[in-house]
């Protein structure tokens, strides 16, 4: 079997297992998994920029929130049906990422990190400023009646799971294919040695711009889906915390691996869930676990497996 075939089988198997899990898992865990899959889409978007292109952003919450608010406002204030509102959310993220990518890519390294952070803070403040529409800190709820898509009620637990799985699978398979394409390999070249890539004839600036836009749009799609599936639009999702989360997820799961983002979200979600079940000091336990992992698996879970056992892992 070639590497590509193995990779295809692996991803197909992950999707099938996730589908089968729905029939096995108790309702509580199925609900968690739906949330994890949507957040994993966010993490995959982040991974595209950080893991594959080597650009560290501290402002991705603005993309997630752009998608979420684009969707939520279009439904609540624009009175649009859910499907159209999701497209509005994605379009909003597209605009934001084109503008931010154009401006932020004039800087590099630490300056890029800071500029992204500043843009995200601006986004957060804009949400608060227009409290009349966004309900500021409180956020707002998208009613069950407004969460139908193609005749399905996405607030229903089962439908929600399948919708999350469909979105997740599409992104996972798309990314698996994308990173194996010439474009994906060129992104890796930029990550590994930008100057060398440029002197091999790659338009590295254009590649980085496309990576920001693609990464932004995926993050925004996750944001819109989150609003649609879970019915709550809140400014917490635009805070720094939500810019740090995808970085942590990707680092934990394995930057520059296709499955790392999902594994990272899964791991962190249950780490916090289980430790808060055991003790009040759950953040303490979570912190220790993260520390241990970074010490003993600096490449992240999937990255470490690839480095030590399964070199073909995509």
């Amino acid at each position: 079997m070639t590497r590509e075939q193995k990779s295809l089988w692996l991803h197909a198997a992950v999707v099938l297992v996730l589908g089968a899990l729905y029939f096995v898992l108790p309702e509580y865990h199925a609900g968690n998994l739906a949330r994890i899959m949507v957040l994993a889409v966010y993490a995959m978007g982040y991974n595209l920029l950080f893991g594959y292109t080597g650009l560290l952003s501290l402002g991705h919450a603005m993309f997630f929130a752009a998608g979420m608010y684009g969707f939520g406002l279009a439904v609540n204030h624009g009175g649009l049906p859910a499907g159209a509102a999701v497209l509005i959310g994605i379009a909003a993220t597209l605009v934001v990422s084109v503008v931010v990518g154009f401006l932020a890519l004039r800087t590099r390294d630490v300056a890029f990190m800071i500029v992204m952070l500043m843009f995200a803070q601006t986004g957060y403040l804009i949400i608060l400023y227009f409290g009349e529409f966004t309900r500021g800190d409180e956020g707002f709820v998208v009613q069950q009646a407004q969460r139908g898509l193609f005749g399905f009620d996405l607030s229903a637990q089962g439908i929600r799971y399948w919708a999350a799985l469909i979105l997740f699978s599409a992104c996972l398979l798309g990314i698996a294919k994308g990173v194996n394409s010439r474009f994906g390999k060129a992104l890796v070249a930029v990550r590994e040695n930008e100057e060398r890539a440029r002197m091999l004839g790659y338009d590295t600036h254009r590649l980085k711009f496309l990576a920001v836009v693609l990464s932004g749009v995926l993050s925004g799609a996750a944001g819109a889906a989150y609003g649609l599936l879970f019915g709550y639009i809140g400014s917490t999702f635009a805070t720094v915390q939500y810019s740090i989360f995808p970085l942590l997820w990707v680092l934990l799961g394995g930057a520059g691996t296709t499955l790392g983002p999902f594994v990272g979200v899964l791991f962190m979600f249950y780490l916090i869930d289980l430790s808060s079940f055991l003790t009040d000091a759950y953040m303490f336990i979570a912190g220790i676990a993260l520390l241990l992992l970074t010490m003993f698996a600096p490449k992240g879970i999937v990255g470490q497996i690839r480095a030590s056992r399964v070199p073909w892992l995509p």
Binding site: N193, E195, D203, T204
Partner: protein, 242 residues
């Protein structure tokens, strides 16, 4: 026909003039060596040809076309390949992928054709048995060779090599000379080289750069007989090898 020409090409780094009004011509199909003492401005000059270093003033013409305002990647797409003086490979990628990334510059080539070309070039430079190895794990000499392979695989019209033999063992230098001479006729080569033995065995033309200006240019014999060159460069044994 001249594949490459420059007019009054100048670069200053702050107060330092690294290149001053360089008028230069390179005939298609030739192998030319660019020599000169350390700090003469050789790397700066070829950097301005490839677009890596923006010129302060002056023009560069490639096949008669003014490319002065083109960014590096566009110049390379026109058929200029460039190798770095300080080894610059993709350390965390394997040898095959390093060369493949270089080969894919030509977007008309399918992945199969890329693979074929990569295998061909790696065989030619003797790295076939190390295809799967990470570039960062290669010996210094093999990394230099890899760097050359990344230039060759692009099948450029003009190949610029910045001190390719620096730090190579004697046997590797000989292999390099054979490799270059084996290419004869295909790409035009502009070779920066300190090793005079390599220059004499490969170059049909020599240009001598000194303090950012062209001191002499011509056939090896002409350059060798040039009094100014004798005084400034060839006469002093310390510069012949460094």
């Amino acid at each position: 026909m001249n594949i490459l020409e420059t007019r009054a090409l100048t670069k200053s780094f702050g107060g330092i003039k690294a290149n001053t009004n360089i008028d230069f011509a390179l005939e298609q199909g030739r192998t030319m060596a660019l020599i000169g003492p350390n700090g003469a401005g050789k790397s700066t000059f070829v950097g301005m040809l490839s677009g890596r270093i923006p010129a302060t003033s002056g023009q560069v013409f490639f096949k008669g076309k003014d490319i002065s305002h083109l960014p590096a990647h566009r110049r390379i797409a026109l058929g200029i390949a460039y190798t770095f003086q300080i080894t610059s490979v993709f350390s965390n990628l394997d040898v095959r992928e390093n060369v493949a990334l270089a080969a894919r510059r030509d977007r008309t080539k399918s992945e199969d054709e890329v693979a074929e070309r990569v295998a061909g070039v790696l065989a030619r430079v003797g790295l076939s048995d190390r295809m799967e190895q990470l570039a960062g794990g290669l010996s210094y000499g093999h990394q230099r060779v890899l760097e050359i392979a990344m230039g060759l695989v692009q099948e450029p019209e003009l190949l610029i090599l910045d001190e390719p033999t620096q730090g190579l063992a004697e046997s590797e230098v000989t292999e390099f000379v054979d490799l270059i001479n084996g290419l004869q006729g295909r790409p035009t080569i502009l070779l920066i080289e300190h090793n005079m033995d390599v220059v004499m065995r490969t170059a049909e033309m020599i240009t001598v750069l000194n303090f950012g200006e062209i001191l002499a240019s011509g056939t090896p014999q002409e350059v060798h007989d040039n009094a100014a060159v004798q005084a400034a460069y060839l006469g002093t044994t310390t510069n012949a090898e460094s």
